[in-house]
Symmetry: C2
């Protein structure tokens, strides 16, 4: 199968995302070719480390790249200050220099943590990402956002740190649990819904093939990365358009908070799936898009095995006011209005800067009272 | 007295440095004019906070800028992970947003710490510097370097975070201890020695007036800032020319390490003064510049009341090998050679990329054995 390459064009911080099979085995050679004479600090987690670290280390060694490995505990709780300190101390103790690289080898948590470390050690080291989940391959590998959580909330500390190379190995997805693949699929669908209707319709036709693996999967990941790259290229620092990438995330985050970030009840991509359906239903409720479009989005996500309604979440949910509080904490509410990603149809999302909080609340009350 | 403004031209990160009297009293109005609707988190230390915080808070309040103040312990030991965490937690708890500002109100330590916090909270907040020492006004207020220390060394963690405005209040220097003023003066002289011979000669004529305060002081600070700005504009990320700013710092850092960063024996600017004299003497020893130039540099710094020789440091110093080890840790030594800032005369510094460590060692042995 052919490897696809997507170039993220950010002037002197431009980089390639390679998507295809056996990229971990080829990582050493691919890195050495682009970044000669570097040494590497690999950051991975206990799950990926146990399964795949020896292969990556061997690949680097064969290419003459000396490396040291830092294994953090798998899970969101590693995105904290003490773990960040452990990682940077290890990188410094290994005497890695500014031109050496940090390799993030794992999912979104490892990418956010390792990227933050790369961004602050010696005021910025080299950075390479080898995302191992579908979500990380289509989302966090593009755009350079890194960060950790604090007591006040998620991702409140971090830097923008663009990688120099991203290797999205599609073979590694074979060991990914089905539920995690589906969660990543939801983020992929998001790019179709934002501004690529053709991609959404392509996914409607090719969903089964994408889930089965093969060239359709590579093509879908490449299309999603290209789509995100185009947005990031136009608005790297999220001063405007980049907010479109939050489609489904306002409701999604509120649901993640409501379920206490308990992965047994809801993982991020599932929250985004329900959130996107709610964003379409809310847009239809506001008469901005047709109920038919909202139904089409829900049908596709449901066919992919994703939850799409509030009642798909196990256990009870808080009331509309509690959900609204959490939305208000996430988004700055000014004068009772908030910024929301709404849509006029498939692939027609837009940033609405003054959505009355009262309308969001009324819509949520309806959904919670009478789920269809 | 007239306020001087130096513009640091870094494309969309350009900013003004204002230098003159009563800028703390005018801070609120000056900030509100440039950055409307911001709220502020002031970071200061126990010394400056006790003396000047009420005046700054009142100035912000009068201009309608809501602020919260974070007071850290005065001294280099605050540039550590726990203090950084305290600062960012306070900024987040105050619900400051990405477009709000962190104000660094203090010397170099506060600037480095507050700038790092501003650079990572919400992936980068606004940042304003009100440097209160001469060293901070002529050095850390230009260039955007921020950071903290780790067990492995100084400034090993940080980001580049350019301020949006710098207010160098020259009145506040009246409360600065004379020794600290002298230490800042050494950094000012450095810009003349790097590439502005006219400035060095101007300082030779106007030193007494600069120490006395008044318009010569403002002029000298502005010239130093303009000189550093020109270097930073050409090489923001220190990939080349910016290394010139390290003139005197390689020997200086080794001496700071040798004296255990004990301010009673040596403060940074004093280390730089001795380091610059050593850099000129080493350059003369290598027959790159005249002994007369080295003598002229020493004479000027000595006249300013600064230490200029190894024997000016109270207590005993380690031997040449120990100093060399510390230089080697500071600078990456490759194949027995190191990068050093050398000079061909007053205002003719250059980056030498392959100075044999053996020559540095031999020179140091001579200096330690037979101080003149």
């Amino acid at each position: 199968m052919k490897t696809e390459t997507v170039t993220v064009d950010l002037d002197n911080r431009s980089y390639d995302i390679m998507i295809g099979p056996q990229l971990i085995a080829r990582a050493g050679a691919l890195i050495a070719k682009r970044l000669p004479h570097v040494r590497a600090g690999i950051v991975t987690d206990s799950n990926i480390g146990a399964l795949h670290l020896p292969e990556l280390e061997a690949s680097l060694k064969a290419a003459g790249i000396a490396s040291t490995s830092i294994i953090v505990e798998a899970g969101e709780q590693s995105k904290n200050f003490p773990t960040l300190e452990t990682v940077v101390d290890h990188l410094l103790a290994a005497r890695l220099e500014r031109n050496d690289i940090v390799i993030a080898f794992g999912g979104g948590v490892v990418g956010d943590l390792a990227g933050f470390a790369a961004g602050i050690v010696r005021r910025g080291m080299g950075f390479v990402q080898i995302p191992t989940s579908l979500l990380a391959q289509v989302d966090s590998s593009v755009g350079g956002k890194t960060g950790i959580n604090t007591a006040q909330g998620k991702n409140l500390l971090g830097v923008f740190c663009q990688p120099q190379l991203v290797l999205a190995d599609t073979d590694i997805l074979k060991t990914l649990p089905e539920r995690e693949f589906r969660a990543g699929y939801a983020e992929m669908v998001k790019y179709g819904l934002i501004n690529q209707p053709d991609f959404f319709h392509w996914l409607e036709k090719n969903r089964t093939a994408v889930f089965a693996g093969g060239k359709e999967r590579i093509q879908a990941i490449a299309t999603a990365c290209r789509s995100k790259a185009a947005v990031v290229e136009r608005d790297e620092r999220e001063n405007g358009e980049r907010a479109l990438l939050n489609l489904g995330h306002t409701f999604g985050h509120a649901l993640e908070t409501a379920t206490g970030y308990n992965a047994a009840r809801l993982v991020h991509g599932e929250g985004v799936a329900i959130g996107m359906v709610l964003a379409y239903q809310f847009s239809a409720w506001l008469k901005l898009c047709s109920a038919q479009a909202a139904g089409q989005v829900e049908a596709h996500l449901r066919a992919a095995g994703l939850p799409t309604q509030l009642e798909d979440i196990a256990g009870s949910l808080p009331d509309a006011d509690t959900l609204m509080n959490s939305i208000a904490q996430d988004k700055k509410v000014s004068n009772g209005a908030l910024t929301f990603i709404l849509t006029r149809g498939i692939g027609k999302a837009f940033i609405a800067r003054d959505v009355p909080a009262a309308q969001v609340r009324a819509f949520l009350m309806e959904k919670l009272r009478s789920p269809h």
